[in-house]
């Protein structure tokens, strides 16, 4: 096993690097030691050992390979996110896989990187590591190899207020984010959602986060995840336009396009199988909750002779939900708190009727 520890210097930040390849660890060590803040680099080839080392405390950043024997990087990272939320985490992988990327971000990892393959990428990787070490760092800032969707999701999920300036060749766009919601966008003479879609279509570019502009007039009113979803779908349609111009969006995908809907879950009552889930981080958990409490409150209704259960409405700190049952399907539909009750009732009806189509 390879494990190294430099002499402890209290003023130096500590980075722990985990990779099952000792040669790669040596490379990381050599490179990271060159960072301007001169951090102390510790390395190990096993996830279990990394957890034991983190228990000793004092680490600022964990750099973790995703593909490792015994305990893989995702397992290590999810434990670290839970047990040591103050440790900044950076996942690196040699495998280009969007699912991996989504899973990594869904467990709350700060950054996801493909292993640098050239000098430019290496430079950016080192800049990222340095930015994670900075004490006043409220999140990653700068140019990086993340998609625009990742950046916006990160900003919105952390309830940030900022202005995202995006450069794509000679074109420049701006996206205004206020308290975790996209409120406006502007590029090439376009404003609002049109501008957002235009910027969203840029596949490469550089990002810069600027100070928030709270006074910016709001032109986009959709919740950020609906906006991202719709934009991604619109882009897919544009890109796939030549090959499948006649193709209509499926009924299921239309459900998530209804204004104001944060998430939609449909479950077949008989089999208990999830027939459709969109906009949820934990669809299985929410499906289990919906199944269980629709059944429990139906049983209660029978016992009290109050008639069939109409619906269960839940009000949370960020969103509301309605769980109900129609024609052999159970639904759980979520929307933002900003929507009023009447609007929400209409949305629920709309989702159910669309599903029935």
């Amino acid at each position: 096993m390879m494990e190294t520890t430099d002499p402890v210097t209290l003023t130096r930040q500590r980075i722990l690097v985990v990779d099952d390849d000792p040669a790669i660890l040596e490379t990381y060590k050599g490179l990271l030691e060159q960072l301007p803040s001169k951090p102390e680099i510790h390395t190990t080839v096993s996830g279990q050992r990394a957890l034991a080392m983190l228990e000793g405390g004092g680490y600022k950043v964990l750099v973790c390979d995703l593909k490792m024997p015994k305990m893989d990087g995702l397992q290590v990272l999810s434990i670290v996110r839970r047990k040591y939320p103050m440790v900044r985490t950076l996942a690196v992988t040699g495998v280009v896989d969007e699912q991996f990327r989504s899973r990594v971000y869904s467990i709350g990892v700060d950054l996801y990187w493909h292993k640098p393959t050239n000098e430019q990428e290496m430079k950016q990787f080192l800049e990222c590591c340095e930015s994670l070490l900075s004490p006043d760092d409220g999140g990653f800032r700068g140019v990086q190899s993340k998609s625009l969707m990742d950046i916006i999701q990160l900003e919105c999920m952390s309830q940030s207020s900022s202005v995202l300036r995006i450069n794509n060749g000679t074109a420049t766009g701006k996206i205004w984010i206020q308290d975790g919601e996209v409120v406006d966008a502007e590029t090439e003479g376009l404003l609002g959602e049109k501008a957002f879609l235009k910027i969203f279509s840029w596949e490469t570019g550089s990002f810069e986060t600027q100070h928030a502009e709270p006074g910016r007039q709001r032109t986009i009113f959709k919740p950020y995840n609906s906006l991202l979803l719709e934009s991604a779908q619109a882009l897919d349609e544009i890109r796939g336009g030549e090959s499948s111009k006649e193709q209509e969006p499926s009924d299921a995908s239309r459900l998530a396009q209804i204004n104001g809907v944060e998430f939609v879950l449909a479950i077949e009552t008989k089999s208990g199988k999830t027939a459709f889930a969109r906009g949820l981080e934990n669809p299985e958990g929410v499906a289990a909750w919906t199944r269980r409490y629709i059944q429990k409150f139906e049983e209660l209704g029978e016992r009290l002779h109050t008639g069939h259960l109409g619906q269960i409405d839940g009000l949370g700190p960020q969103r509301q939900l309605t769980a109900t049952r129609r024609n052999g399907t159970q639904f759980c539909i979520g929307w933002k708190n900003s929507m009023d009750r009447e609007e929400a009732r209409e949305v629920v009806k709309k989702v159910i009727s669309l599903w029935a189509c």
């Binding site: 289990a288 429990k296 002779h305 008639g307």
Partner: protein, 105 residues
């Protein structure tokens, strides 16, 4: 007469529903209630236990809730989360004129 007897059959006893409230702690114990004592204790406990579990499991499913409203055609349960426990309001729904059969002119 045999025909009339069939109309005299005892109908199943309906539980009378009341409006009122009660509080339940995180251990699902009913602490205070404003419901009439005629209203069965076990039903109050069942409702209390259900809402406490519903809040807890919603939280575990990453959809934290602070209030639940369970609607039946003739009855409504509103529960607000209180530090792991809950305050629960039971209310009877009055049918609005819109739900009654329109009179023929």
């Amino acid at each position: 007469m045999g025909l009339l007897n069939s109309f005299c059959r005892k109908s199943p006893k309906l539980l009378k529903l009341y409006s009122g409230s009660f509080t339940v702690d995180r251990g699902k114990r009913v602490l205070v209630r404003t419901l009439p004592s005629k209203f069965p204790k076990d039903i109050v406990e069942t409702i209390g236990s259900l809402v406490v579990d519903a809040f807890k499991e919603a939280n575990e499913a990453q959809v934290p809730l602070r209030q639940l409203e369970i609607s039946y055609p003739s009855f409504k349960i509103t529960a607000r989360e209180l530090q792991g426990g809950a305050i629960v309001f039971l209310s009877q729904n009055n049918f609005s004129p819109a739900h009654t059969t329109p009179k023929s002119v």
